[in-house]
């Protein structure tokens, strides 16, 4: 539901890193989003096509690395993943659990095409 401000935030961070690295274009953006973060990929893609227009990120491909929510039961050590709803440990019905993954919500990396530079000799 709040994917527009999220998408604008992605654009801002990506533009910042792209400029720092003298990018002419950004071609790919990798995002890691845990299933507990309530973010819908399709909505981000929808807003992305809109907010990235006219920037060096236009046409960049979004890659979603979806992380399923996994819990560990501290009573019996079972690790299990959540489908939709929160459930107690499937082995011992214990509720003494910790969340191992599923809360991720970050940008991993981007791929850029560098600007043409004429100081190649300095990088040799």
């Amino acid at each position: 539901m709040h994917e527009l401000p999220v998408t604008e935030s992605i654009l801002k961070i990506v533009l910042d890193y792209a400029q720092k690295n003298q990018a002419a274009f950004v071609t790919d953006i990798s995002l890691t989003i845990g299933s507990l973060s309530s973010i819908v990929d399709d909505s981000i893609q929808f807003y992305w096509d809109f907010v990235s227009q006219g920037t060096i990120c236009e046409n960049a491909k979004l890659h979603f690395n979806r992380v399923t929510a996994t819990l560990e039961c501290l009573d019996c050590g079972t690790t299990y993943s959540l489908e939709e709803e929160l459930t107690p440990c499937p082995s011992c019905s214990g509720i003494n659990v910790i969340i191992l993954s599923g809360e991720e919500f970050h940008i991993d990396h981007i791929e850029i095409i560098k600007e043409e530079t004429n100081n190649d000799e300095t990088t040799r």
């Binding site: 071609t27 929160l86 107690p88 969340i99 970050h106």
Partner: protein
């Protein structure tokens, strides 16, 4: 030449930094602030009004009201109760963010206050993602909403500092399994500070007021 640039940054990093800034402003004025979240109809405004009524005389409270539409019903009620209130119309957005809070703080007489309650937009999904810079995330869960909410909205329960179970006067009339509800909460947030109360009858309010008073006095 294609090049990979590592980022590994939280997507809402800019909001988080603004939230830190808000907290610094609050600290500077020795103001304790809570972010009050709930579904629509859980009783946020009546809970705030009852809290205002019961707070010790020395505590000066300000309220930031988040609403999705430009209606001032909730803010009017707070002002009628004698407390300064700032209304934020989110223009349809489903949550408050740190930037909105920064603007609202500028409109409140911080030097005269020692407590701020931010009434977030009624929603169990989006407010969980946006830090505001307040000191405590408080959720009101109400009995008629049902006992399955921690299981369906785990994210908001994970980030809580305090849970209010409101409308306990309705327990005899609703199929609400308190044990089942509390089990879900315990899985997500072990040992969470919880107050079961009724803003209508006042039952259970004393413990909440004592807790809040202690937090405010410590600032």
């Amino acid at each position: 030449m294609k090049q990979r640039v590592e980022i590994v940054k939280r997507i809402l990093d800019a909001n988080d930094r603004l939230a830190q800034n808000n907290q610094a402003i609050l600290e500077q004025h020795h103001v304790y602030a809570i972010n009050l979240m709930a579904s629509p109809g859980a009783g946020k405004t009546s809970f705030i009004l009852e809290t205002i009524k019961r707070l010790p005389a020395g505590i000066k409270l300000g309220v930031i009201e988040g609403d999705t539409a430009p209606v001032t019903i909730d803010a009017d009620k707070i002002v009628a109760a004698g407390m300064p209130a700032v209304q934020i119309n989110t223009g349809g957005e489903c949550h408050l963010d740190a930037n909105m809070i920064e603007m609202a703080l500028a409109e409140l007489p911080l030097e005269d206050l020692n407590l701020i309650i931010v009434e977030n937009v009624g929603n169990l999904i989006c407010p969980a993602a946006f830090r505001l810079g307040t000191h405590a995330n408080v959720l009101i869960a109400s009995i008629p909403e049902g006992d399955d909410k921690p299981y369906k909205y785990p994210n908001i329960y994970c980030g809580l500092d305090v849970l209010i179970i409101n409308k306990i006067d309705l327990l005899p009339y609703v199929d609400f399994r308190m044990d089942y509800f509390r089990q879900g909460v315990e899985m997500l947030n072990p040992g969470l500070q919880t107050f079961a109360l009724s803003a209508k009858t006042g039952e259970g309010f004393d413990a909440w007021i004592d807790w809040l008073t202690a937090k405010v006095t410590a600032k």
